[in-house]
């Protein structure tokens, strides 16, 4: 599963809480592309994200971004090394307005591809609500802001944890377009998703996570058309479009 042109390379990653390992020898690699990690609840998807971004220390293995070791780094160092994070539940700052979410990162973004203006250009709806607080936004707007905030880091890799969670299908369409748009611009996107249909639409490559490891890899719509594989990897009665 390793590639020569890998931007992100995860090898034999182990991580968890206390003595219990949730990730147990997880490996994959990706280039400048969109990759989805799908799996049932409790398979370790969010643990994977938290370990990649440095919120959770890795117990073993290694994570490399463009050849540089990320495991063992503090979260701020991981972000500066080029990994931007859109967390599950968005984790916006309730005390800050839309504008302030972006303005607090504006200084480092100055003169680069993603600035406050270009985020507003990508998500015009945010520009209209720039003086509103995070709590006054709809779920879709909150997700756009979480993505916009991550883009302001101008990182080569964006990791998104459950971006479609709780969103109307039309809002998911915006996210899918945004992900394609980012990849076309040379930004790699790693999407961790329960919603199989959303995952397939966002990413051509899908990695299936089972009990803390990548157990299978699919391309294109293959997984959507194969209820037997969905049943095997994603649980009994899972259907495309429903949370897998």
């Amino acid at each position: 599963m390793t590639r020569d042109d890998a931007l992100l390379e995860v090898r034999d990653l182990r991580s968890g809480y206390g003595a219990s390992l949730v990730l147990d020898g997880l490996s994959f690699s990706m280039g400048v592309e969109a990759v989805a990690v799908v799996g049932r609840n409790g398979m370790g998807k969010t643990t994977l994200c938290d370990t990649l971004v440095g919120f959770l220390p890795a117990a073993g293995g290694e994570v490399r971004l463009a050849g540089r070791r990320l495991d063992g780094m503090a979260p701020e160092a991981v972000a500066r090394a080029g990994l931007a994070y859109v967390p599950q539940g968005r984790r916006l700052f309730p005390s800050l307005t839309v504008d302030e979410h972006l303005a607090m990162l504006a200084r480092r973004a100055r003169g680069r591809r993603w600035t406050t203006d270009s985020v507003y250009e990508l998500f015009p709806r945010l520009a209209q609500r720039r003086h509103h607080g995070g709590a006054a936004l709809s779920g879709g707007e909150q997700q756009m802001l979480a993505v916009g905030r991550a883009l302001m880091l101008n990182a080569p890799l964006v990791v998104m944890d459950e971006p479609s969670e709780g969103l109307a299908p039309t809002i998911v369409d915006v996210l899918v377009d945004a992900v394609h748009h980012l990849v076309a611009e040379g930004v790699a996107v790693l999407v961790v998703e329960q919603n199989l249909r959303a995952a397939v639409r966002m990413a051509d490559r899908q990695l299936v996570m089972v009990s803390g490891r990548i157990e299978a890899e699919f391309a294109g719509d293959e997984l959507l058309d194969r209820p037997d594989l969905q049943h095997r990897f994603l649980g009994v009665g899972a259907t495309a479009g429903e949370p897998a």
Partner: protein, 375 residues
């Protein structure tokens, strides 16, 4: 940009529909929660107490040192000014305390020590600048002879606060009990060292001559120095507000109060922000100390009483909130000024109890303080 933009046009319409429904349901929910709050008996008790106190002060307070406000509006006006100006001093002392707590969840028990140390340092610097160590006449004190010592005292407090944070507290992040015990121990050590260095007698910082005069308001004489103190408090409040709301560092601090880990996930070195916050919070303790020493003097024990004052203010206003510090200072200042003036003369000794009454009342209505929220 085109594919994303095309998708967005469609989504914007859809999203506007969902947004307006969500906003409607949210505002309905907030009205409901306000109505529920009104049904709580403690809110009614607070309202009844407020009306009773107002009625007492306005018409019923015969036989008190100040007399009913309707009969003696001059005394009432002076008491209001006393309340607001003392609130200014409380605000300066408590704002640094609440700033540090808000971001770092550290109840800095050494806050009072920094307050007192700044006062002593400023007094020494002022004595050196004026060239006399006792009986300094305000007429000999220029504005700079007050401002420079103030900056020097607050600067020393800021540097010491930063050192405390760097040496002791940054290793104990998130461990409130350790932080509290450490800062309490520092308070004890500093108190002894200050006693050794500055002696046990009360000392006073002298206000600049330019503001040391009286004016008449409502037939009563009033000290301009108290208004000068209020002016400095307002300036501090405005600068602090601008810093927190108009600069990217301030935004990062507010974001850090909300979700520290996520701020780190955005590539921001929160340790540096902690250090800066401690520096500013300690500087504010120092400014408060110099104002306090000019207003009421500095002596051993001042540190403890001003730590207590800061605690009372932030418990009333809500820990970690600047708005809360302002509101808490005003309420506490009002109780401190009004109690001795409007309690019947034979009960004036019990004025201090009113402070605890205020605390109990506020906590019964809002357990996290007026503007506080759960940690």
């Amino acid at each position: 940009m085109t594919p994303a933009s095309n998708g967005l046009d469609q989504v914007r319409r859809e999203d506007e529909r969902t947004t307006s429904t969500e906003v409607r349901s949210r505002s309905a929910a907030s009205v409901r929660s306000r109505l529920t709050e009104l049904r709580r008996p403690s809110v009614w008790v607070a309202a009844v107490v407020a009306v009773a106190v107002a009625a007492w002060v306005l018409v019923l307070a015969d036989g008190t040192p100040a007399g009913a406000a309707a009969d003696d509006p001059g005394k009432f006006l002076v008491t209001v000014l006393d309340a607001v100006t003392f609130a200014g001093l409380l605000f300066v002392a408590a704002s640094g305390f609440t700033l540090i707590f808000g971001l770092m969840r550290t109840v800095n028990m050494a806050h009072g020590s920094l307050f007192l140390l700044a006062a002593y340092v400023a007094i020494r610097v002022q004595e050196a600048m004026v060239g006399r160590s006792r009986n300094i006449d305000p007429a000999d004190v220029g504005l700079l002879d007050w401002l420079v010592p103030m900056l020097a005292g607050a600067g020393v407090a800021a540097v010491l606060g930063l050192a405390i944070q760097q040496v002791f507290l940054q290793w104990n992040e998130g461990q409130e009990m350790r932080q509290t015990l450490l800062t309490l121990a520092i308070t004890v050590v500093l108190a002894d060292q200050m006693l050794r260095e500055f002696g046990g007698l009360a000392q006073r910082m002298v206000w600049p001559g330019a503001v040391t005069h009286f004016f008449t308001i409502g037939g009563e004489r009033y000290a301009a120095t108290r208004l000068f103190m209020l002016g400095i408090a307002v300036l501090v409040g405005v600068l602090l507000w601008l810093w927190l709301n108009r600069t990217s560092v301030g935004m990062v601090i507010r974001a850090g109060v909300d979700d520290r880990q996520m701020v780190r996930g955005l590539g921001i070195n929160i340790k540096r922000v902690f250090a800066l916050t401690f520096l500013v919070g300690s500087f504010l303790a120092g400014v408060g100390g110099v104002l306090g020493a000019s207003f009421a003097g500095a002596a051993p024990g001042t540190d403890g009483s001003w730590l207590l004052n800061s605690l009372v203010v932030v418990i009333i206003g809500g820990l970690g909130s600047l708005k809360g510090a302002a509101a808490g200072s005003l309420l506490y200042g009002t109780v401190v000024a009004f109690s001795p003036a409007y309690l019947p003369s034979q009960y004036s000794y019990y004025a201090i109890i009113m402070t605890f009454g205020l605390l109990a009342l506020v906590l019964a209505v809002r357990p996290y303080g007026l503007f506080g929220r759960p940690a």
